[in-house]
């Protein structure tokens, strides 16, 4: 079990297709598109957080390159 694995990026099209949604161009680069992409990527992640590292209230546990 790899508790600390972070999600790897996938494109928004793939993410939204998996959600059963249609055209995705409208969300490319948007905040919602970014979140959906991250949500999709984290769904198959192992560990209690589903691949998403929990951050404390008063700090970050992410490097900038893995923010989205």
């Amino acid at each position: 079990m790899d508790q600390a694995r972070e999600s790897s990026p996938v494109d928004v099209s793939t993410a939204l297709a998996d959600f059963g949604l249609g055209s995705v161009d409208a969300l490319e680069g948007s905040a919602l598109g970014n979140i959906l992409t991250e949500v999709y990527a984290s769904r198959d992640g192992a560990g209690a957080a589903g691949g998403v590292m929990h951050s404390s209230h008063s700090s970050f546990s992410q490097h900038s390159s893995t923010s989205w």
Binding site: M1, D2, Q3, A4, R5, L16, F19, G20, L21, G22, S23, V24, A26, L27, G29, S30, A31, L32, N34, I35, L36, E38, V39, S42, R43, G47, A48, A49, G50, G51, V52, M53, H54, S55, S56, H57, S58, S59, F60, S61, Q62, H63, S64, S65, S67, W68
Partner: protein
């Protein structure tokens, strides 16, 4: 006698615990700033006075051994270590380097991902070089432009600290600094225009921003929350949300908004402040003592104390502590009002310290409940409308 957290909580039934993956290390117990809202120095718990000023190499080495032990027990390949304080950069780079080595040396079986949180005053070019060398990512505490920042964040002589924070912001947002920049933490002050604060920070394009609700609870009402039913913090945040949500491309992750949307869609929270997932982080004090949630210092003296330390106890011992188990079995800690609420899957009952009252312990909805409800409802309505259009 005030209730201990372990007494104030409903005893958790046997729960499946998640291992700790994030270790918040209080490497310095003192700070070069004296911010008026600080949960470490300016609230009920004053235990910092009894802590050594810095974590010793002996404690750091023992911490490393405990992290390695925990990683081996739970088959963790990576963990996060967060250098926290106080102000961690007060240690000076030579000491900090030695301390990181002392933690790392016994951790042969796990990779440490290094992070830290700084007020920026001591973050200079040499610090940035050190961070790049160690792949150590720092978050910066800055509340906005000078007027907003210096209203609260001053040194012990009352002098403003914006110039130092701004210098750090400039370094971290440079091409050289960006790979080791975690983001920005900004505490909300309702007197400041939210868009002015957001646009100032946005100008530096931080990878993450979290706008923090001031730490308070039912006996220590947050500024501007004289009545529980009012929603000034939701109103403040929603002005930012509307602008942020419509911007494109959007390179900035606002943690609070991200978590609301993600949890609404059935995914996971990224911060301990939201959702009902087990909390997988623990705080290690400068003397090696263990704490479940350091921000509980705003509630009462000793609220954080688990009575455990890295010399005599493993992190698995901490997992068996009633206080930690309660944080892992989030549902059991909820008030009946929260358990019956349709938004609890998102808000998780609110951040733990925000629920406290001397009368009922933590068996309350958050003091920010009305704000959280409004924030969640408005954000999820916008998201649902967008998704409906695409479906």
């Amino acid at each position: 006698m005030r209730p201990k957290i372990r007494d104030a909580l409903t005893p958790a039934a046997a729960v499946t615990t998640a291992p700790m993956t994030t270790f918040i290390c209080k490497v310095a117990s003192r700070c070069n700033l004296d911010c008026d809202y600080c949960y470490v120095y300016r609230h009920a718990d004053q235990s910092w006075r009894r802590q050594p000023q810095r974590m010793s190499m002996r404690t750091a080495a023992q911490l490393g051994r405990r992290i390695n032990e925990h990683a081996m027990t739970h088959h963790l390949r990576e963990v996060n270590v967060i250098l926290h304080g106080g102000e961690p950069l007060l240690l000076g780079l030579p000491y900090l380097r030695e301390l990181c080595d002392a933690i790392t040396e016994p951790t042969k079986n796990v990779t440490i991902r290094w992070h830290g949180q700084t007020n920026g005053v001591l973050y200079d070019e040499a610090t940035l070089e050190f961070c790049r060398e160690r792949n150590l990512s720092f978050g910066l505490s800055i509340d906005g432009p000078a007027e907003a920042h210096d209203r609260h964040r001053v040194d012990h002589a009352g002098r403003p600290s914006f110039a130092g924070a701004h210098r750090a912001l400039t370094l971290l947002s440079s091409d050289w600094g960006r790979p080791v920049w975690g983001g920005v933490l900004a505490v909300i002050d309702l007197r400041h225009d939210p868009l002015e604060v957001y646009r100032f920070l946005r100008g530096f394009e931080p990878p993450n921003i979290d706008f923090l609700l001031p730490l308070g609870h039912h006996d220590l009402r947050p500024p501007g929350k004289d009545s529980p039913g009012t929603t000034p913090y939701a109103d403040w945040l929603l002005r930012i949300f509307r602008e942020w949500y419509d911007e494109r491309p959007q390179p900035i992750r606002i943690r609070r908004f991200r978590d609301v949307v993600a949890l609404h869609l059935g995914a996971q929270n990224s911060s301990e402040e939201w959702g009902l997932q087990p909390v997988d982080l623990i705080v290690v004090e400068t003397n090696g003592g263990l704490q479940a949630v350091d921000t509980l210092k705003v509630t009462f003296e000793g609220a954080c104390d688990l009575g455990l330390n890295v010399f005599d106890h493993s992190f698995d011992d901490a997992l068996r502590s009633p206080s930690v188990r309660a944080r892992q079995d989030a549902w059991a800690t909820l008030s009946p009002i929260c358990q019956a609420c349709d938004l609890v899957r998102v808000c998780g009952g609110g951040y733990f310290p925000h629920r406290y009252s001397a009368e009922a312990g933590f068996n309350n909805p958050s003091v920010y409940c009305a704000d959280l409800m409004k924030l969640i409802r408005e954000i999820t309505t916008v998201v649902d409308q967008d998704l409906a259009r695409l479906a």
